[in-house]
Subunit: 111 residues, 2 copies
DNA sequence: TTGACATATATCGACTACCAATATATTATA
DNA sequence: TATAATATATTGGTAGTCGATATATGTCAA
C-alpha cells in the first residue's frame, strides 16, 4: 500500500476508534490492522506523536492505567471538541472519496 | 478540504485523465476542478513537477503543440507502462477506500 | 493605452505527514 | 538465556503539496 494514501486520514481513524471507547496506543494499532484486514499498518513512530498532537489540540485527554506490574498503558479519551473534529473530518473524507469516485468513473464507459 | 487527503492520489487522478486522451497541464487542472465539483483544486506548483516525474518514469510522454501564436501547450500522452501503473494505483485506492469505510462504519450502530 | 485578468508553463522554499531506526522496559516463551 | 511480544517515545530522513514568484501571451474594459 502506498503510505501517502493514508496522509491526512490517520487522525480521522484514531478519533473514530476512540469514539467507541477509551483505548491505548498499541491497542489502536492492532485494532486498525485487524479492522482494515491488514490494509492499514499504522506505525508507532506515526501514532505516538499524533496522539500527543491531538492531546495538545484538546481533542483527546490521557489517563495512566494504575497497574502494579508491567509497562503502564496510557489510555486516551475523546473530548467534546474531539467529537466535533471527528464529525468534520469524516464529512471531509466522504466528500474527498466521492469526488475521487466521480473522476474515476467519469470516463469509464465512454471510450 | 484538507490538502493532505489528496496526497498520493494526485498521480492517479492525472493518469486517469490522460486515459481519456492527450491533455495539457492547465487543461487537467480545470477539468479536475470541474469534474470534482470544486473539491480538487490542483495547484500548478504541484502538477508541473508531477508531470515531469511521471514522464521521467516512462508513464507519460510529451509533445509540443505546433502553434504560431500564443504560449505553446505541452500535451501529455499515456504510455503502456502508464496504463499498467494506472490500473495498479486505481486498485490500491479502492482497497484503501474500502478499508477506510470499514473502519468508519464498523462501530456505527452499536453505541 | 494601460491595467487587470485569464491562459500556460516552470521553479523554489517551506510545511506537513509518514516511516525506519533506535531506545527503553517488562513479560512470556523456548 | 535469549528471543519475541507488549508498550511508549524520539529522532532523522523522505515525499507530497502549496504559496510565491517568474515569464509570456491574449483579451477585455476603463
Amino acid at each position: 500500500m502506498d503510505k501517502t494514501l493514508l496522509s491526512g486520514s490517520t487522525a480521522l481513524l484514531v478519533l473514530k476508534l476512540l469514539e467507541e471507547g477509551d483505548k491505548y496506543g498499541y491497542q489502536m494499532i492492532e485494532e486498525l490492522r485487524r479492522r482494515s484486514d491488514d490494509t492499514f499498518s499504522l506505525k508507532a513512530g506515526t501514532l505516538y506523536p499524533l496522539l500527543h498532537s491531538l492531546e495538545q489540540k484538546g481533542y483527546i485527554t490521557a489517563w495512566e492505567e494504575n497497574s502494579d506490574s508491567a509497562r503502564p498503558r496510557r489510555y486516551y479519551h475523546l473530548t467534546d471538541a474531539g467529537k466535533a473534529q471527528l464529525a468534520e473530518k469524516e464529512t471531509e473524507w466522504r466528500t474527498y472519496a466521492g469526488a475521487m469516485l466521480r473522476v474515476l468513473e467519469g470516463g469509464a464507459c465512454l471510450a
